[in-house]
């Protein structure tokens, strides 16, 4: 075989292009916005979870999703719907049973993975912009191989969505206020986000080889697939509704403003 520099299969050098990227558009904008957005949300959530205060409005039975279900000694009266098996301790969130799973669900979510791999880990920051790391093994080994556990986090998230729905239902006992509407919008969006999950799409019907043999699951898969195309939007919308719901309830509990009542 003749091996010359320019015959196919001969030289194996890539084109010598000095610039690391030749992109001229603002490719850094999207990762920057993601970085700021996720960073701000995580900061807010951390502060709120460890504030151990202003999470419940007894007269309307509003409980913020960040403290639901409330299971430490700090949860008094009607806030403690599921009992208080845990002691109150400053490092222990009031929703100690559910928050870790919610965190896991969002951390292993196929959309958030893309978002933080790009914006935080720079692997890669944007398409055709070099990876910020020397070596790369992706999700092939510890710890990232545990991203494959997304499905269990999804199962947990479904249960937690039921609890959140229950919170919105019990809050309904006392008429109707803006708080109720906010709680319902949040719950609906949480369901939309949870059901649009890629694992859900797979479980619903994606794993089948013959849709024609499973017409019901096929319809469910079609429905989830439609939601799934909006998974990114829903991921951001739910971050917004969660923070808004929490902030509104914090404001009410701290007496910064009053609930806008529509009925009663």
């Amino acid at each position: 075989m003749t091996t010359t520099a320019t015959t196919p299969g001969g030289g194996k050098a890539r084109a010598a292009i000095a610039a690391r990227t030749l992109r001229t558009d603002r490719w850094w904008l999207a990762p920057l916005v993601t970085f700021i957005g996720l960073g701000a949300w995580v900061t807010y959530a951390t502060v709120r979870v460890f504030m151990h205060d202003w999470f419940f409005v007894p007269e309307y039975h509003y409980l913020t999703p960040f403290y639901s279900p409330c299971i430490t000694d700090l949860c008094t009266g009607e806030a403690a719907m599921f009992g208080t098996p845990l002691p109150s301790f400053f490092l222990l969130p009031e929703a100690a049973f559910t928050l870790p799973f919610l965190l896991l669900f969002r951390l292993t979510c196929y959309y958030y993975r893309k978002a933080y791999y790009r914006a935080f880990w720079l692997s890669p920051p944007a398409c055709a912009v070099p990876d910020g790391h020397k070596s790369y093994s992706g999700e092939t080994r510890f710890p990232l191989i545990f991203q494959n556990a997304h499905r269990y986090a999804f199962y947990a998230a479904v249960i937690i969505s039921v609890i959140n729905t229950w919170d919105a239902v019990v809050a309904q006992k006392t008429g109707l206020g803006l708080g109720n509407i906010i709680l319902w919008v949040n719950v609906i969006m949480l369901w939309a986000y949870t059901l649009s999950c890629h694992s859900c799409r797979h479980i619903a019907g994606g794993r089948l080889k013959h849709f024609s043999k499973h017409p019901v699951r096929y319809r469910f898969w079609t429905f989830v697939s439609k939601l799934n195309t909006r998974h990114m939007q829903l991921a951001w919308i739910t971050l917004g509704t969660l923070a808004l719901t929490d902030f509104y309830i914090m404001g009410l509990a701290a007496d910064w403003f009053n609930d806008l009542r529509i009925i009663n």
Partner: protein, 329 residues
């Protein structure tokens, strides 16, 4: 109107960006500019293209750093005073100028086990329902431009991953066949994970972003394949379900024994009589630019180079039809 272009010129031994001012007319695409350069200043500028309709996948290049098809990138999408930089795709070895050696992809294609119909079903007897085959059909739109392969940071930024990683184009191939109602190979999920390097993908979606056919590579192929692998490898609930109901299609899957194109899935290798051969190169190791080196301009004569034209009349074996004679004589 003339516009400023920077085109990478060179080969495996080196090269650089050269500046050109080229006339641009309304309605033109980047490939037209390459052609104009070939017709004017740089007749030996190498570039692959075929259809100029976004359907052959030959003209992949990087335009202002973005992997694009030259024939589908309109000049009207750029500002009038913008310099447009055109480089070959980075991930594969360069042959010359904008032409790269994409044989990595053909090697990976050959390694992927082919469609395997169930035993006893002859071609022509394949029957399937549209709903069942629909998902696979999306992936058949692929024009093999390899822009996704080029963009994927797993190999673009880490050349050492090439042996272990097949790339998004072959993940959609794996998904296409795994979802195909008539494919009988059961070990494609295992194969994708252990031999194609599915785990290297961190679903950052650049492949989907650059695909000119708008195939939802990540959402519809890679993530479903990852989930199918989870079924196989990491999900005890599914495992339990399989044991209890005993009717799951995944029941009797064995670990992958498929290597390369061996066995039933291999088909007939190299059915062409002619073995693959290298491009002919001149003494300097470069491909000939025939018009410059050949004794005459234009393409080689189909009559052979030793013929001179016009030929003497007695050499011509041609009988002029005699208009006076009746037809058939």
């Amino acid at each position: 109107m003339k516009r400023r272009f920077r085109v990478w010129r060179g080969d495996a031994s080196g090269g650089d960006l050269r500046d050109f001012d080229v006339e641009v007319n309304e309605g033109e695409v980047v490939l037209d500019i390459i052609h104009r350069l070939q017709a004017t200043e740089t007749p030996d500028l190498a570039c692959r293209w075929n259809c100029k309709a976004g359907k052959c996948g030959s003209c992949s290049m990087e335009i202002n750093g973005k992997p694009r098809l030259g024939c589908m990138t309109r000049m009207s999408t750029f500002e009038e005073n913008e310099t447009i930089t055109i480089t070959p795709i980075r991930t594969f070895p360069v042959i010359r100028d904008l032409v790269t050696d994409v044989s990595f992809n053909y090697e990976k294609a050959r390694e992927t086990p082919a469609f395997a119909p169930p035993a006893g079903v002859a071609p022509g007897e394949y029957r399937m329902q549209q709903v069942d085959v629909e998902r696979s059909q999306e992936f058949r739109k692929c024009i093999e431009c390899f822009l996704c392969q080029n963009t994927c940071h797993v190999i673009r930024d880490h050349d050492e991953n090439k042996p272990a990683f097949s790339g998004p184009r072959y993940f959609i191939r794996a998904a296409e066949l795994d979802m195909h109602p008539l494919d009988s190979l059961e070990d494609r999920k295992e194969y994708a994970q252990s031999s194609q390097g599915l785990g290297f993908c961190n679903i950052t979606k650049c492949c989907t972003e650059v695909c000119p056919e708008h195939i939802k590579i990540t959402d519809n192929a890679i993530i479903p394949m990852k989930e199918r692998v989870v079924d196989r490898r990491y999900d005890p609930l599914v495992w339990l379900g399989r044991k209890i109901f005993r009717r799951d299609q995944l029941e009797n899957m064995a670990p992958s024994s498929t290597v390369g194109v061996a066995g039933t899935s291999g088909g007939v290798p190299n059915s062409s009589v002619r073995p693959p051969e290298n491009a002919p190169t001149g003494p300097d190791g470069h491909l000939d630019v025939s018009e410059l080196l050949a004794p005459q301009q234009g393409g080689m004569s189909p009559f052979g180079d030793d013929m001179t034209f016009p030929m003497a009349p007695e050499q011509v074996t041609y009988h002029h039809p005699d208009p006076d004679r009746p037809a058939g004589h």
